[in-house]
Structure formats: structure tokens, C-alpha cells
Amino acid sequence: MTINFDAMNVGDAIPVYTSAPITRTQLVRYAGASGDFNPLHHDESFIRAIGMDTVIAHGMFIMGIAGEAITSWIDNKNLRKFSVHFLSMTQPVNLDDFEQTKGRATITISGKVAEKYEENGERRIRCDIMARDAQGSRKLKGFFIAALP
């Protein structure tokens, strides 16, 4: 895919990306892939010990999903910066209560072009991004910078 600098305007939306409902199995898969074995993300007995309700997704898993959203739109090699703040925790779907809990576990990434400029001899865009669950709760916000042809 080729996204052209001249064709982009400040305020243009980037394509919306919606995840599948995040499951506990996916958290285990992400833990093994990334090496982040914080028990907060898979061990319910640890969760009880620290007074929480359920395991939560790794913030970096949500950022990873946002990265997927971005690189589904622009080429990986054009990314120059990617920065986020985590805003709230994400609980996975309960398989014994799927319909009631899928909303909290489904992440939508949206964003828009905030700036167009030249830097280091490249034409770049900065896009603001936001991740929300299907109930509207904000999960992360941030931005990325990409060089465009």
C-alpha cells in the first residue's frame, strides 16, 4: 500500500481497526511471545492477593494492537516514532459470560492526522491515536510519526 504525503490532509482519519475480544489465552500467548510474565496478566491467585477482580491485559498488548492498526495503514519501515500513555486497564472476555463481557475486551483503534511537516529531509505526518473498548472506555492515547513518499 502507498499512502502519499500530498494526498493527506490534517484532520484526515486513519482507518479504524477493531480487535477480536481479548481472551485469557491471548494474554498467555502475548506473555510467552514478549517475555512479560507479570502474574497480573495470567494468575488469578496473584490477582486476589493484591485485591483486584480479574487478570488484565498487558498495556503492551494493547499498544501492540495499536501497532497492528498503524502498520495495516502505513509501511512498517516508514514509522519514525510511536508513543503512548496507558489510561485504563483492560479485562479479558469471560468465556462463560461472553455476551456480557465481550465489549470490555474489544479494542478499537482510531486516529487522525494532526500535523504535516518536513524533518531530516523527509516529509512526515504526526497522527494522534486513541484506543477504546466497545463500551467507550479509553485505554491508551498517543501518537505516531511516519515518513511518507
Binding site: F37, M60, I65, G67, N76, R80
Partner: protein, 157 residues
């Protein structure tokens, strides 16, 4: 609480080889696939990656976090070195600057240091007082090139 005398501390250097299968496993995780056969071709097929202008299969944007977690004792090793409490820890922000691609076969050395430590809120008030720690990690490839700089912010409640 993380020990404030650790401000400025540099962690030992660790190196790790970027493995093709590890990239595929990571991409399967973040793209929520059940196996690595169904990930994007660029992350599993060398020819596709080369046609896209990479020397080999590239990493996805957030993969550099695995260079920290899979070296130096991982999360627990880092938490211990900082004198922090895992039970109170929250990852609050992450930033990557990309200077050049990282691909399968590269050997990445991570150079991490504590660049900031500060308090937010009022000491002694439970739930109000937060200590913030910022780590900066330079990722350097086998040719000595700085390829990624990461800034990781976490809080202790």
C-alpha cells in the same frame, strides 16, 4: 518504592539475537491469530520482506520490548535492580523512536538506564502518592548502529 539513589543507574549490557520464529510468535499474539501460518506474509516469508525493502523479516513496532523482557532477568530482574515492588507496579507509558529497521538475524544489544524518578501527589496519602520511574533503552545492532530508542514509564501506587 523504587530506590531514588538508582536515578542515573545504568544496567549491564545484554545482547539477544532476533529470531525469525520469535517474530512470528509475537505477531501472532498481537494480531490475535491462533498460529503463525495466518500472520502477514512480511512477518513470515523472507522473499516478501525483501520485496518490501527489508534485508530480512522485520520486527513489528512494539517488538523491542521483548529485548528487555528476554534478557537481564526479565521483568523481575529489572524490578529487583530498581528496588521496586511488583505488586504496586503499573506500566504507564511507552515510546519508541525508530532510526533503522531491525530484522531477523540481527543481534541487538540493549543499553538501559534510569533517566528520571519523581513523585506525583502527596506523600503519605494512600492512593494519592505515586512514584514515577522512567527508563531509557538504546537498542544497538551488530554494526554498532543505534536502531531504536525506547522510553518506558512506570508508576508505583
Amino acid at each position: 518504592m523504587a530506590d531514588k539513589s538508582k536515578l542515573g543507574m545504568e544496567f549491564p549490557l545484554y545482547s539477544i539475537k532476533v529470531e525469525k520464529n520469535k517474530i512470528a510468535e509475537f505477531v501472532a499474539a498481537i494480531s490475535q491469530k491462533d498460529d503463525t501460518d495466518h500472520i502477514k506474509d512480511i512477518y513470515r516469508d523472507e522473499d516478501t520482506a525483501r520485496k518490501a525493502g527489508f534485508e530480512n523479516i522485520p520486527i513489528p513496532p512494539t517488538f523491542p520490548s521483548s529485548f528487555i523482557f528476554w534478557t537481564g532477568g526479565g521483568l523481575l530482574g529489572t524490578v529487583k535492580a530498581l528496588g521496586a515492588d511488583l505488586n504496586r507496579l503499573l506500566h504507564s507509558g511507552e515510546e519508541y523512536e525508530y532510526f533503522a529497521p531491525i530484522c531477523a538475524g540481527d543481534v541487538i544489544t540493549r543499553k538501559m538506564k534510569v533517566v528520571d524518578m519523581y513523585d506525583r501527589g502527596k506523600p503519605g496519602r494512600r492512593g494519592m502518592h505515586i512514584q514515577v520511574t522512567v527508563l531509557e533503552t538504546e537498542m544497538i545492532n551488530q554494526r554498532g548502529e543505534l536502531v531504536v530508542r525506547a522510553r518506558t514509564t512506570f508508576m508505583e501506587r
